[in-house]
């Protein structure tokens, strides 16, 4: 890490003990006092965010009052389930595995998505894998528009720009995954009289990188005020297993592994953190560039992404409008 990025990282430094104390008090207040629920349900993906939320909930409510849910589907990486189990075991908390594949098959999630992929890659079929990606930061001046990457059973990859209809159809189909998981979480919340703890971090929450009524839905969001690097700091302090803290974050939504950077952030998460911090505090692109180890043009581009993401997030986060 360069001295400049170290200076940038210092801006986001938190005291994990103090922060944990604050969050734990907030979880107790929300679950027991505000909602009068007996505990919390946490859907654990094996990623850093949901792991930290599970650890915080156990610390706040006790392991007997936290229900960990592991909800793989047929395209999930096997690692997700293994790491999710590792979280539950580390916490000695109750966990249940709910395979959501049959729900997704019933909703024709895979079928709808595959048909949309075939609109731009006609040969896409049995045994193929896909993901959708954005251009990277090297394409600084270009619009961020989505392409699909496919991999044939023989390992041949192809990248094709998506048509608007195909893009919307792929997103609408894959969003079933997050919504099916949330449905299961609320099933357990009803069953146990628990509240649902959501797992978005600040980047996801503020920029709308979640599915409305999917992973965006929750009764409480314990880490939605924390930048991703702060979540990592908390994870280390809470004792989240190193294996979870050191893996590269993925969306685990498409059959081909898709990093969060290529799906929506387009720059490394530490830099995205600093750009969001910079925008929130009205720090100019040139000044932030020095702190983030980026050039000013790149920062301007990310600021642009943040502005449009915030606009889109308004709809995603809006409660229903009571008309009349």
């Amino acid at each position: 890490m360069s001295p400049r990025t170290r200076a940038g990282a210092d801006l986001l430094r938190i005291d994990p003990a103090v922060e944990t104390g604050r969050i734990v008090a907030g979880i107790r207040d929300a679950v027991f006092d505000r909602f009068r629920r007996r505990g919390a349900v946490v859907g654990v993906s094996g990623g850093i965010d949901s792991s930290v939320v599970a650890f915080l909930c156990v610390r706040a409510l006790g392991r007997d009052r936290v229900q960990v849910l592991l909800m793989p589907e047929r395209e999930s990486s096997g690692e997700s389930l293994r790491l999710g189990r590792l979280v539950a075991e580390s916490l000695d908390a109750g966990s249940v595995v709910e395979d959501i594949s049959p729900i997704l098959e019933g909703a024709r999630c895979y079928q709808r998505r595959d048909a949309a992929v075939r609109e731009v890659v006609p040969e896409y079929g049995e045994g193929y894998k896909c993901k959708i990606v954005l251009p990277g930061p090297s394409d600084a001046s270009r619009y961020s528009i989505f392409s699909v990457v496919t991999e044939s059973p023989g390992g041949e990859t192809k990248k094709a720009r998506l048509t608007p209809d195909a893009y919307l159809a792929i997103v609408a189909a894959t969003n079933f995954k997050q919504r099916a998981r949330k449905m299961i979480e609320y099933h357990y919340a009803d069953l146990l009289q628990y509240a649902v703890a959501g797992t978005p971090n600040r980047l996801e929450h503020e920029l709308g990188f979640f599915v409305k009524n999917g992973d965006g839905a929750a009764d409480l969001k314990p880490i939605a005020h924390l930048y991703k690097s702060q979540v990592y700091a908390l994870a280390a302090w809470l004792g989240v297993p190193a294996e979870i803290r050191t893996q590269v974050p993925t969306t685990d939504t498409y059959p081909l592994e898709q990093s969060q950077e290529e799906f929506y952030f387009t720059v490394p998460l530490e830099q995205m953190d600093l750009c969001l911090y910079g925008m929130t505090r009205d720090i100019g692109a040139a000044e932030l560039a020095g702190l983030a180890g980026m050039d000013a043009e790149q920062v301007e581009r990310v600021y642009g992404i943040i502005r449009s993401a915030r606009r889109a997030a308004r709809y995603l986060s809006a409660p229903p409008v009571i008309v009349g």
């Binding site: 619009y143 528009i145 989505f146 449009s308």
Partner: protein
């Protein structure tokens, strides 16, 4: 500049219909789509698909830049060059 006039009119009709939901609220030919917030990443995809289908052109990844696509006037100028070439 008849081409530009026709193009401007056609593109404006598409923008008003798709991004302003039929309400032409004084959106200017030089107004930035991104700055005004009327076009998001899905909107750019829609705009590109419309231009390719309407004018029988292929827009390369390198051409997907605001200079070419961020206002009605930029699009008209970009199309002028593209169709002339």
């Amino acid at each position: 500049m008849r081409l530009e006039t026709d193009t401007t009119r056609t593109v404006r009709a598409f923008v008003v219909d798709n991004f302003l939901f039929g309400r032409d609220e004084g959106f200017g030919d030089t107004d930035s789509f991104l700055e005004s917030g009327i076009v998001d990443s899905t909107g750019v995809l829609q705009l590109v698909a419309f231009l390719e289908a309407t004018y029988g052109i292929t827009i390369s990844d390198e051409e997907l830049v605001p200079d070419n696509l961020d206002s009605i006037q930029n699009i008209a100028r970009f199309l002028g060059g593209k169709l002339a070439g």
